[in-house]
């Protein structure tokens, strides 16, 4: 399990921070102090930006961290983001299936209420999601308002960056409208088995269990 997350973390060297997304997350936390953490991720589990509270001291048991580009090390000092993005992708898969099976249309949000707080996930455009963490005293009405608003803006920012020309000439141009392919630079290595794009996944009829 850990090694899988590490693999993901290594792969994330390829992930380029989306302009404006991180600013949106920090703006959200400043505006709504009851929101304890925010994470923007693609629907297939890649971290786009995160603001999961105060930075933790760098973990000693992760030698893979050394020698990484500064860009990746910036988010790597908070290891919670990676598993959370992966879990969000897994939870979304189930949520999409539930939505599909019950005919509720396109996915909008997912709210998990635990004894000690809430985990809320909002669709941010077609290829990304915003996950927010709040404690049990949180005002859910406000969580929804802020979450929907910020997710909408993140979706717009991603759509805008998708239309801008892809920066690296080495990677092939991303197909328009593809899931999680908001830029050529974020495409995972070719040998990685990719999950099918979400739109396609959604159209597949749920197979009998």
């Amino acid at each position: 399990m850990i090694s899988r997350f590490r693999q993901r973390a290594e792969r994330r060297v390829l992930v380029v921070a989306e302009p404006g997304v991180s600013e949106e997350l920090h703006g959200l936390l400043a505006r709504a102090p009851q929101i304890g953490g925010a994470l923007a991720a693609t629907v297939d589990g890649f971290v786009l930006a995160e603001a999961l509270g105060p930075a933790r001291p760098a973990q000693t048991g992760r030698p893979a961290q050394t020698g990484r580009p500064a860009q990746a090390a910036q988010t790597a000092q908070r290891p919670d983001a990676e598993p959370l993005a992966a879990l969000t992708a897994a939870a979304l898969g189930l949520a999409f299936r539930m939505n599909e099976a019950t005919g509720r249309g396109a996915f909008r949000e997912l709210l998990i209420h635990g004894e000690l707080g809430y985990v809320a996930t909002y669709a941010a455009g077609p290829s990304a999601v915003l996950t927010l963490l709040a404690d049990d005293r949180a005002n859910v009405g406000r969580l929804h308002l802020e979450g929907r608003r910020t997710a909408g803006r993140i979706g717009e920012a991603l759509a805008a960056s998708r239309h801008s020309p892809p920066p690296p000439p080495t990677s092939p141009p991303a197909p328009a409208g593809g899931w999680g392919e908001a830029g050529g630079a974020r495409t995972p290595p070719e040998d990685e088995p990719r999950r099918p794009p979400l739109e396609r996944r959604r159209r597949n009829p749920p197979s009998p269990m």
Binding site: N139, V140, G141, R142, L143, H144, L145
Partner: protein, 124 residues
């Protein structure tokens, strides 16, 4: 005894100058029902925001050591009155009624009296 929908409609219809009315759960900040409002007055936003108002006041009372309860809260704007009335019946624990009034068209004393009556008959 009247249900939520009927009570909100009655408040909207019988209180002069009413812009919008909502029944709000202040443990979650979500509205159990809304009537009125519209594009220029989002009652969901009002429900979430006024939940913070009620919670702040309850916390302040606790810090002051007051063993009391809030009956209602009046907020006077330039052109509007906003009235918050906490439900006192056991079934309405953690809920409040919220009404926004046009200051020029409403009678505050009458509105407060009517809201009290509607709250007393509300069964959630």
């Amino acid at each position: 005894m009247a249900n939520t929908e009927a009570s909100l409609k009655e408040a909207m219809g019988s209180i002069d100058g009413a812009i919008g009315v909502a029944l709000v759960d202040y443990t979650s900040g979500m509205a159990l029902g809304t009537v009125g409002g519209g594009k220029n007055f989002d009652l969901e936003v009002a429900a979430a925001g006024n939940t913070d108002v009620v919670r702040a006041k309850l916390r302040t009372m606790e810090h002051l050591g007051l063993q009391d309860e809030i009956e209602d809260i009046l907020i006077t704007l330039g052109t509007q009155y906003h009235l918050i009335r906490l439900l006192r019946a056991k079934s309405g624990n953690g809920l409040f009624l919220y009404i926004a009034l046009d200051a020029g068209k409403s009678n505050l004393a009458m509105a407060r009296h009517q809201l009290r009556r509607i709250e007393a008959h509300l069964e959630v």
